[in-house]
Structures are given as structure tokens and as C-alpha cells.
């Protein structure tokens, strides 16, 4: 007689230390084996799009901060670029340079958290403490510039809220000198750690065609081997002036597109960000950062879709203007929202413990998934 077996449904979250916030995963399991994963989102739905319709264009900027709260500068960047496209205004060189430096510093800070939590979730708590130390360094630089640690409201339409501090350039160079060795330290501590490799290599393999069909972007797509970066594909701001590489997953310790590849792409990207900052920091031209800010922001009728490369991937803002002082519709193409969709595909056939490794390697932020 055949033994009758039943599958079990296991709820992970919304209160779970490794779901990076308030994500709920409904796992259907047979023993330890995962048959299907259904993510349930919306536990942090803060009605961004409704707010954007009720606010004037500059008033939306603080709300964009709170979408992807680990990369607030990048969110500001995307939104102001979209509105500037709609207005058709020229930005002073100095502003462009400072924006790029800030966005790249933010990318490092964000990847540090991504790597730290990825490690901490699967048991490596020590790198977490080291990386948060370095993150504090960057936050100090931001704080020196605009007074806030996390949510900056720094980039304004046509300019910046504050000019950089006189000490900023020196401090940033100090940071770069301090940061270069920490990447080596990180590699020794976590990247090539035997246990870490065992947990992440050959786990959660995402084939390239699936990644494209699911619309994945950022390190998730690049981990699968496609050097797709909005900074290179569709250059915005002044990114075409800088020399940087686009790291992709090579399957160094496992298969192309596994968790380790996605993780390692982030490590390499931090080094590239440092390169961009180095090229930009000495060439900041003189000027006034607020000279191009329009007095009254009332874009003409039209639609615009502008995208930037945020640490988590392609962040797009779709804005419809009806000629009023507030946007008619703002839709955010949040990279994590799209990247999380592949979760179901990645987890099939893995063990419950691998879910955490996979989720960590996707590096989601619930603030922008739920908006």
C-alpha cells in the first residue's frame, strides 16, 4: 500500500528576522524540500503614489527618500532627473558632479548593508559588525553635507539642497583610502570563506533568459552574466564621462547566476564605485548649486519615463503631468518589486534553509516593493 503523504504549508514572516522587513513567504514544503514559494507583499504599503498626486513636485522628493531607504540618494536622483526631463532644464556641472559622487557613495553604503545582512542571515555575524562600521563612515559624509544620516532630501529639482562642506573632498579621499583595504578584508572574512561558499554556491541559480523575461535588473541580472547597467546602456547625468567596468557573474566557485555570483557582483561593484568617485572628486567645478532651481515648478503636459541605476537595479519613474503644480500620476518601477518575482522560480527544489540565502542574495527592500 502506498503511503499517503501531504505537503505542509509554512509561513515565513511577516515577523521573521531574515525576511528583511515585513515580507511574508508562503512555503509549500514536503519534508525539507520546497515545492513552491508564494511571496505575499503589501505589509508596508505606504501609499507613495497617492501622496505624489497630492503634493507639489518638490514636495514629493522626501517621499522618494522613503521608498528604498537604503539608497535614498539614488531615489532622489531618479525622481529629479525625471522632472528635469519634463521641464527641460540644464543643470550646472557642479551639481552633476556632486550628484554622481553622492549616488556612488550611496551605492557603496547600500551594498555594504546588502552584503552584511546576507552574511548575517546565514550565520556570519562578524562581517555585519565590520561592514556597519564602514557604513557609518559614509553616513558621516552625508551628515556633514546635508545633516541627515539616512533620508536626505538632498537632490532638488535643478540643484541641491546644500553645497558640499569645505572638508568633504578631503574626508571622501580619506574614506577611499580607508575603504580599499576593507574590501580585501571582506574577501578574506566572508567572500572566500568555505562555509559561506558552501551555503551560497550552486544555490538559487537564475538562468539568463529567465532573468530577462522576469525583468530582473541590477546585481540580480548581472549575476546571471549580462553586463546590463543603466549607467552604460542609457547614460544619464554625466556617467558617460567616467571609466568603469560592469562586473558580471562568472561562476567562479559554482554556476553562473547562483547566490554567490549575485553576492560577488556587489563586492566588485563597490570597487567600481570607488573608481568613479576617484575620477569625479578632483574635478568638481566651481559654481552655485542652487542657481538652476526654477522658481515655480509647473511642467508642461506630457509623460516621461526616466530610469537610473540604483544599487538594487533599474529604478524608473513614470510621471504624467497635466500641466498643474502637482503630478497627475507617478508610478515607480521599483527594482526590488520586480526582482522579488523570481523568488518562486529560484527556490523550487531547494531546502528551507536555502530560502534565506536566496532572499539575502536578491537584496530586497520592502519600502520600495510595497511603496
Amino acid at each position: 500500500m502506498a503511503l499517503k503523504t501531504e505537503t505542509m504549508v509554512l509561513n515565513m514572516g511577516p515577523q521573521h528576522p531574515s525576511t528583511h522587513g515585513v515580507l511574508r513567504l508562503e512555503l509549500e514544503i514536503e519534508g525539507e524540500l520546497i515545492l513552491s514559494v508564494k511571496p505575499h507583499i503589501g505589509y508596508l504599503h505606504r501609499c507613495f503614489e497617492k501622496h505624489a498626486e497630492a503634493m507639489t513636485y518638490p514636495q514629493v522628493i522626501p517621499y522618494t527618500d522613503r521608498l528604498d531607504y537604503l539608497a535614498a540618494m539614488g531615489n532622489n536622483f531618479g525622481y529629479v532627473i525625471a522632472v528635469e526631463k519634463l521641464l527641460g532644464i540644464q543643470i550646472p556641472e557642479r551639481v552633476e558632479y556632486i550628484r554622481v559622487i553622492m549616488a556612488e557613495l550611496q551605492r557603496i553604503a547600500s551594498h555594504l548593508v546588502a552584503i552584511a545582512t546576507n552574511g548575517a542571515d546565514i550565520g556570519a555575524l562578524t562581517p555585519f559588525l565590520y561592514l556597519f562600521r564602514d557604513r557609518e563612515y559614509i553616513l558621516t559624509l552625508f551628515e556633514m553635507t546635508c545633516g541627515a544620516r539616512m533620508l536626505y532630501n538632498y537632490m532638488w529639482i535643478g540643484g541641491l539642497s546644500h553645497d558640499i562642506h569645505p572638508d568633504f573632498v578631503r574626508k571622501t579621499k580619506e574614506f577611499i583610502n580607508h575603504f580599499r583595504p576593507t574590501v580585501t578584508e571582506l574577501n578574506n572574512l566572508l567572500t572566500f570563506n568555505k562555509i559561506f561558499i558552501e551555503r551560497t554556491a550552486n544555490v538559487g541559480i537564475l538562468p539568463l533568459d529567465t532573468a530577462i523575461n522576469f525583468g530582473a535588473s541590477g546585481p540580480v541580472l548581472r549575476g546571471s552574466g549580462l553586463p546590463f547597467d543603466v549607467r552604460r546602456e542609457d547614460p544619464y547625468s554625466i556617467y558617460n564621462r567616467f571609466d568603469f567596468e560592469i562586473p558580471t557573474g562568472k561562476g567562479l566557485v559554482g554556476t553562473v547566476g547562483d547566490c554567490w555570483d549575485r553576492y560577488y557582483v556587489r563586492v566588485l561593484e563597490m570597487e567600481q564605485s570607488v573608481r568613479i568617485i576617484e575620477q569625479a572628486i578632483d574635478n568638481i567645478p566651481e559654481g552655485d548649486v542652487q542657481s538652476a532651481i526654477p522658481k515655480r515648478i509647473k511642467p508642461p503636459k506630457g509623460t516621461v519615463y526616466a530610469r537610473v541605476e540604483n544599487p538594487r537595479g533599474e529604478l524608473g519613474y513614470f510621471i504624467i503631468s497635466d500641466g498643474n503644480i502637482n503630478p497627475f500620476r507617478v508610478k515607480v518601477r521599483a527594482p526590488s518589486f520586480v526582482n522579488l518575482e523570481v523568488m518562486g522560480e529560484l527556490c523550487k527544489g531547494h531546502l528551507v534553509a536555502d530560502v534565506i540565502a536566496i532572499l539575502g542574495s536578491l537584496d530586497i527592500v520592502l519600502g520600495e516593493i510595497d511603496r
Binding site: H51, M150, L366
Partner: protein, 163 residues
């Protein structure tokens, strides 16, 4: 604190009121329920990381509500999440304390007017002991909030719960 004042000369015996002893024990090892909601959770993480070191006040994250003493409501509470938070709160053993961290948890924060899915203040669902203002509060502010909570616990009595 007055707990270790009354000491016999040989050093092995300490006399204290039960109230003081219990309160001292409780306030020096507040285990918080380890879960984050939104932006403030990142500052909460930063607080427990190397730079600010929450651990020196005896705060360590405990991942099950059944063994936690305090919840730090770190971020925006939505209607969908509020019912879950209430359930978590009900699972915790007494005495339990709530720190409401950040403007969103205090009163809805920037989402107070148009937030059709945002609960305007966690105190509409569960009782709050300490409110920490800020959007997000700095780690120092959270530490201050914790010290205020400790102050509150210090003045409690076993016979009558103040908090």
C-alpha cells in the same frame, strides 16, 4: 540606584527591596523582539551594530515574541501589518514594554493625511511606553528612548504595574 548600597562588611550579602531587585534585573536585560518594519529598522540595526552597540544596555534581539520583553515598533505600521503586530504583542509574556520609534509609529508621520493604508499611530492598537520622535530617529535618540524606558521600569512596583 541604591541596590548595592546596603552591604555587609564581609561583602557576600546585599540587602535590597524585592521591588528594586526585580526592577534592576528587568531593566538591565531588556530583550527586544527582533523585527523591523521600515526605514527606522535600519537605524535600529545601526544602533545594535558596532558603532552604537545596543548590547551594552543589555538589549539583544530575540526572535520569538514568547521570549521577548520589549518591542521596538520601528517604522510605519500599515493596516495590513497592524493586526499581526497585535498578535505578536499578545504572544509576549508580561511584563512587556513598547517603544514606538519614529514619527510613523507615533502618529502616522509624513503619511498622516493621504495614507489610506497607514495606521496613524501604533497606540491605536497596542499601548506604548516610550515615544521616540524623528524621521528616522538617530541611534542616539533610540538610546535615549531606551534609557527613558529603563527609568520607567526602575520606578515600578510589583504590587502595582505603572506602565
Amino acid at each position: 540606584m541604591g541596590l548595592l548600597d546596603k552591604e555587609f562588611s564581609d561583602g557576600n550579602i546585599v540587602i535590597a527591596k524585592v521591588d528594586d531587585l526585580m526592577n534592576w534585573a528587568r531593566l538591565s536585560s531588556i530583550w527586544q523582539l527582533g523585527f523591523g518594519l521600515a526605514c527606522c529598522a535600519i537605524e535600529m540595526m545601526a544602533t545594535s551594530a558596532s558603532h552604537y552597540d545596543f548590547d551594552r544596555f543589555g538589549v539583544i534581539p530575540r526572535n520569538t515574541p514568547r521570549q521577548a520583553d520589549a518591542i521596538i515598533i520601528s517604522g510605519t505600521v500599515t493596516l495590513k501589518m497592524a493586526t499581526r503586530i497585535k498578535r505578536l504583542y499578545e504572544q509576549m509574556p508580561d511584563p512587556k514594554y513598547i517603544i514606538s520609534m519614529g514619527s510613523c509609529a507615533n502618529c502616522g508621520g509624513p503619511y498622516w493625511e493621504h495614507g489610506y493604508h497607514v495606521l496613524k499611530g501604533i497606540d491605536r492598537v497596542i499601548p506604548v511606553d516610550v515615544y521616540v520622535p524623528g524621521c528616522p530617529p538617530r541611534p542616539e535618540a533610540l538610546l535615549e528612548g531606551l534609557l527613558k524606558l529603563q527609568e520607567k521600569i526602575r520606578n515600578e512596583s510589583l504590587r502595582k504595574k505603572i506602565a
